[in-house]
Symmetry: C2
């Protein structure tokens, strides 16, 4: 179950290790689908019946505070969670609702010199119809 991997990640970042944190972290690592808190909750609940949704929110909150997960607010109705990794952009399919990773250049921290604002995060996102939906095989 590769518990050691996630235990190490939590320890290295100065977080206490709990079964709930390990499970959420593992889920995010193994399911790069930008899930909602409820997605995570419903899935993990099956094997962890005592899991509380509040705990899922708490874990996601601390993981994002420590920079391990990024919170996406593209859809407008609910937050999506993205497990760390390299900088990339996102494409929201308005047909199937999926969020697809996009890797493009042209977005950088140095893009806005003159204004004098201090940029801490750069997000690029796109909306449209994904390839699968265009082909009629989308969700």
């Amino acid at each position: 179950m590769d518990t050691e991997k996630y235990t190490g990640i939590l320890r290295e970042n100065g977080m206490k290790v709990t079964p709930q944190r390990l499970e959420v972290l593992r889920f995010l690592d193994e399911n790069r689908i930008h899930p909602t808190a409820d997605d995570i909750y419903r899935t993990l609940k099956k094997d962890n019946p005592s899991l509380s949704k509040t705990t899922v929110y708490n874990v996601l909150d601390i993981l994002s505070k420590y920079g391990l997960v990024e919170v996406l607010t593209i859809s407008g109705t609910e937050s999506r969670y993205d497990y760390g990794s390299t900088r990339h952009q996102h494409f929201l399919c308005t047909s199937c609702g999926r969020i697809v990773d996009i890797h493009i250049k042209g977005l950088c921290m140095d893009c806005m010199p003159e204004k004098g604002h201090k940029v801490e995060e750069v997000h690029g996102y796109f909306k449209g119809t994904c390839r699968d939906c265009l082909k009629g095989i989308g969700g």
Copy 2:
């Protein structure tokens, strides 16, 4: 009160003209601060006591459906509304909560060729601390 201007805009786009739509449109045009639905509601309510918040949502909904306003979902907690105009990006100040317009190049519809997705909207947004807050004069 420049009613004719907004009457014309609504008519040209095939929408019925109502006092509520004129007021919301005028507010958005004259207050380019990316207000929330509640911002709009509270302000307009002063001079239009019978205004309903549902109406504000309805008007914003139809205006966005007709492409006159853009819905921003940067903050994650509430939608912000941006009156048409030219393509630009946004900067969310995590200190004062304001959303500032940013005009940069490097974002275009042609950025993602290989994936095969059909791009209908391109958004770029940034988070950080705005110039005013850096200077200690922010909200």
